[in-house]
């Protein structure tokens, strides 16, 4: 069974984490300590600075190790920093990048059809997953309202809300799981006792992706939480890495 972390970054943000991870080496060290085989990573410059800088920097992770898979961030095509939709998709293809993050709060835009209709049409058709951080980068709890608005227009889009507050958020995200077939959350901070088991039971094993929120959080907690969650080994394998692996492999760049 492969553990493939979907929510992990490194780099030098304005305020350092308690235990900084400036380079891919720190990510790999924690992965080895815990037993995580692969990680979908981004250099924090994608959200702290700009995707213009962070997207190319993130490609360096793959040079450090083929266990690190780069993800990029989006910006509104209208301002053109990353080119128009066709240019951006071509750049993804050339770089072999098959997953995207959105930071509507940090980058100050509306995550909706008016802004991203043309891009989301393509992401939906091509099966390219979009990750939306729950933390302030996307306006905290408002990320669920944004996800709902996007999915109403693009109901087959693979949208993953990553991160989770200390207080329960099942009442926010379960309606989205019920209504939209490709909506998922990551497990990095989903610590609710019995939560993983109940989601798998009610919605199947494809609505959760193993994540760690490294380097703010340790990898060990999310790892042990999933390793011994009361689910079948088949479901565990999907959540641990199977879902992410399949998404990345099936994305048509």
């Amino acid at each position: 069974m492969e553990f493939f972390d979907c929510n992990c970054w490194y780099g030098v943000p304005m305020s350092p984490p308690l235990d900084p991870a400036p380079t891919p080496a720190e990510v790999l060290a924690e992965m080895d300590r815990v037993g995580v085989q692969r990680a979908l990573v981004r250099n924090c410059a994608v959200f702290e600075e700009s995707p213009e800088v962070g997207n190319p920097l993130t490609l360096q992770a793959r040079e450090a190790s083929d266990r690190l898979v780069p993800a990029w961030a989006i910006l509104p095509p209208q301002t053109g920093e990353l080119g128009d939709v066709a240019t951006f998709l071509a750049a993804m293809k050339a770089a072999g990048v098959a997953a995207l993050w959105a930071y509507p709060n940090a980058h100050r835009y509306l995550l909706n059809t008016t802004t991203f209709g043309a891009l989301f049409e393509e992401l939906q058709d091509r099966g390219i997953p979009l990750f939306l951080p729950r933390e302030e980068g996307s306006g905290g709890l408002m990320c669920y309202a944004a996800a709902n608005e996007v999915l109403r227009d693009f109901p087959r889009l693979t949208l993953v809300v990553a991160g989770h507050g200390s207080w329960g958020e099942d009442r926010y995200f379960r309606p989205l799981m019920e209504r939209f077939p490709n909506f998922a959350v990551d497990t990095s901070c989903y610590e609710l006792d019995g939560g993983i088991a109940e989601i798998c039971r009610k919605y199947g094993p494809h609505r959760l992706l193993f994540g760690t929120a490294f380097p703010i959080m340790r990898m060990g907690g999310a790892y042990l939480g999933l390793l011994h969650a009361e689910i079948s080994d088949d479901h565990r394998a999907w959540v641990a890495g199977g879902n992410l692996k399949r998404l990345l492999e099936q994305a048509r760049l």
Partner: protein
Amino acid sequence: MNFTSPIVEEYVAHGRSADCPVINTHAHFGPYKAIYFPMDAPEQVLHTMDACGVRWLIAAAHGALVDTDRGNKEFAEVIARYPDRLKGYWAINPGYPERVVREVAAFEQFEGFVGFKFLSDYYQYPITGPNYAPALEYANEHGLPILLHTWGGSPYDGPDVVEETARRYPNARLLMGHAGYGEWERASQVARDYPNVFLELTAAYRVRGALEIMVRVAGSEKITFGDDHPWFDPRYGIGGVLFAHISDEDRRNILYRNAQRVFGLPV
């Protein structure tokens, strides 16, 4: 994993360890407004405890944090059903000062409660305020533990407030719930400097680097495990402790030995 630890290996293989059990010193019970719990019935709580090797769970009922009069007594009935697994914190609400005196007097009449619970941030009332004094004086007189919700920067229960309380009531045993979240170094100093202050790990266990600061500054003899159960699955918290850069002796101190000593519980 790429390091050697018999305890970690056992938890990875089986999800629990007979040789290194867990005492959960920070838990809750019953429904609460802001969160959905799939596993909050008493038999479900016991199920999770068994699956994760949690020997004892010490909890304050959510109901008691709201209405102490009703909630503490209702929880006493639950504890009475599982006397060898569950213990209680008797909640004190400083918003109703006339009740505090009554609640402190009632504490002794119910079996299974091992200390008080203060949730100062939520009541926006400082631990050092006069409404808490009857409970603190009682705890000081009887060497009773108090689980304090503590948070970095809080004027109600931040590390400075805990230090003042520890100085005034040297015999009350003060557990800093959430280990003064965010003010790791400062909270650890208070735990180091006052024999009656301990750091409790709920939510803190997941923050990369925090536990290592606590062990370095306060020592692992001053740290207890907790996870706000049923808010959080003990596996997450235990995983945080297991994979931290600490020794197996530290892991034992944190997971059960210190709680055993502070609360006088057999394992």
